[in-house]
Symmetry: C2
Subunit: 318 residues, 2 copies
């Protein structure tokens, strides 16, 4: 497993942006008078739900995969995921023309399995425990020589995720606050690195479900406190904060706030109804934080990264 645990810099993020811009969408930034009236601020949504594979994860995966040496690339890439990262790795590998090996739990939603297959990846199924996923991945990597693309604990991934904030600040250089949800921490750490380098007085805030508040607790305690099987509708945020993201977050993030499940669902539905776009529960977390007054946005310009829009339309929370 090739891991380079050095912290990425703003140059890495700018290089990532150049590298991925031929492959990834420059996503739209939407705003809504109704949201602004409700909050008293000016909220700008960076719509990564319109990104390829429907999520920001494509940025990091593309940067990591297109940064491989020819020798590494020839052997392909591997990861374990049942979510957006699996699709992101599969599509980026397809674009690069190299094999992708994805380890997925047997009980992964059929629609996600199908999407990964459609991108031409080779799927290995395993039991749905983290242990089984990790040991199966290890075997796959041993057999194939593929490079493991970690979903967040990797500087190339973090640099890739930071490109969304880079674009958002190009479009709206005068943001006072920038917010993202926090799960493994790849997006929040990349966003913090990008935003603070571009505008040193910007306030960077992560938002997390109360029911999966390991990043909040880790941030407050200044030590990594993992969470076990948290029960939250925000399925993208059930992961524990990664080491590398944590070290960046402690340095560059101003605060982490938490919100209830009810607030997440309410904010999710509000965005669906008023902005007419489909967002995952995970992206509703920072929106809920603003709606609940957990962050004071009155009179402020606030950027929120809308992380993805892959939801099961037959299983909506209302």
């Amino acid at each position: 497993m090739t891991q380079k645990p050095t912290l990425p810099t703003i140059e890495d993020i700018r290089n990532a942006h150049q590298l991925i811009s031929a492959h990834a969408h420059r996503t739209a930034v939407l705003s809504s008078k109704q949201v602004d009236q409700k909050t008293g601020g000016q909220i700008f949504f960076k719509c990564e739900n319109f990104q390829k594979v429907g999520a920001f994860k494509f940025r990091g995966a593309t940067n990591a995969i297109f940064s491989l040496s020819d020798e590494e690339a020839a052997k392909g890439v591997a990861t374990h995921s049942s979510g957006n990262h699996a699709q992101a790795v599969a599509l980026a590998a397809k674009m690069k023309g190299i094999p992708a090996y994805i380890v997925m739990p047997e009980n992964a939603p059929k629609v996600k399995v199908k999407a990964v297959k459609n991108y031409g990846a080779e799927i290995t199924f395993c039991e749905s425990t983290l242990d089984a996923r990790e040991s199966t991945l290890e075997k796959v990597v041993e057999q194939t020589g593929a490079t493991f693309i970690h979903p967040y604990d990797d500087p190339r991934i973090i640099a890739g995720q930071g490109t969304a904030a880079l674009e958002l600040l190009e479009d709206h250089p005068d943001l006072d606050i920038i917010m993202t949800p926090v799960g493994g921490g790849g997006l929040l750490s990349g966003t913090a690195l990008a935003a603070k380098s571009i505008k040193s007085d910007i306030v960077v805030i992560g938002a997390e479900p109360k029911n999966a508040d390991d990043a909040y607790r880790s941030f407050k305690a200044n030590e990594l406190i993992p969470v076990k099987n948290p029960d939250t509708i925000a399925d993208g945020l059930r992961t524990s904060l990664g080491k590398l993201p944590f070290s960046i977050i402690t340095q560059h993030v101003d605060d982490i706030v938490t919100v209830s499940e009810e607030s997440i669902i309410e904010a999710m539905r509000f965005v669906w109804e008023r902005l007419n776009m489909i967002i995952e529960a995970s992206c509703a977390v920072p929106v809920a934080a603003v709606f609940d007054g957990k962050v004071d946005v009155k009179g402020k310009k606030v950027g929120i990264i809308i992380t993805g829009g892959n939801v099961d339309l037959d299983n909506l929370p209302w």
Copy 2:
């Protein structure tokens, strides 16, 4: 009732664009590799579901209302509608700072009544027949002296709706085909006027539900054949084609195609799932026409105007 039955020109559309651009969003244009692969063309979606009030109707209403003389404006505006036009007139009137009188059927969805009320309009309820709506409106206009803002049979409305195509062709000047759904015909006629003036060899196509195919039949017969209470999920397209739109459509539209209810629902869901945006059934109609091969788009660049995204999330067709 002030009606000016002269045909709008490209200058009217350009003037409308200048007039409304301080008030309306310049909406995003989205595309999707999955849609392109499915169709063999390059499809560009002009996203009026992200427009104010969630629909293109805001363009026409704003142009009509901001074109009023001071004397007309002082007395306010009136219309009858249970749909997006009601909200569009209500919001545009609020922005102009003049009264809006909206006649709505008693059985109008509560959420739509609430939205119109929120924009500060005065609502008069009536029975849900067209006769009751028209006679109630007439009374309101008599009492108030308000100007009737027709949803489509008005050159200022048509010019306003044409601004969406204007923007789309500014962003993508090399479109081969441009498509819209057709109900009353305001959008299709405005689009045809704009598109043919800007690019004379562009092909303009309207799409209609088979179950409400009055525009199709009128177009083929070259005479206006109204439809009575058509049964289609595309509620925005149940209206019969208007006179003024019809006269423009016979001149400038190349074809009108029809699609089944099943195809509409399938296309609607495809867009929700793959583009992560919420579109009304009405906007799925041209998408369905492309998916069904009713229009040959192979190797072509095709613009589709996504008309709106106001749906009842508790009452989805799947």
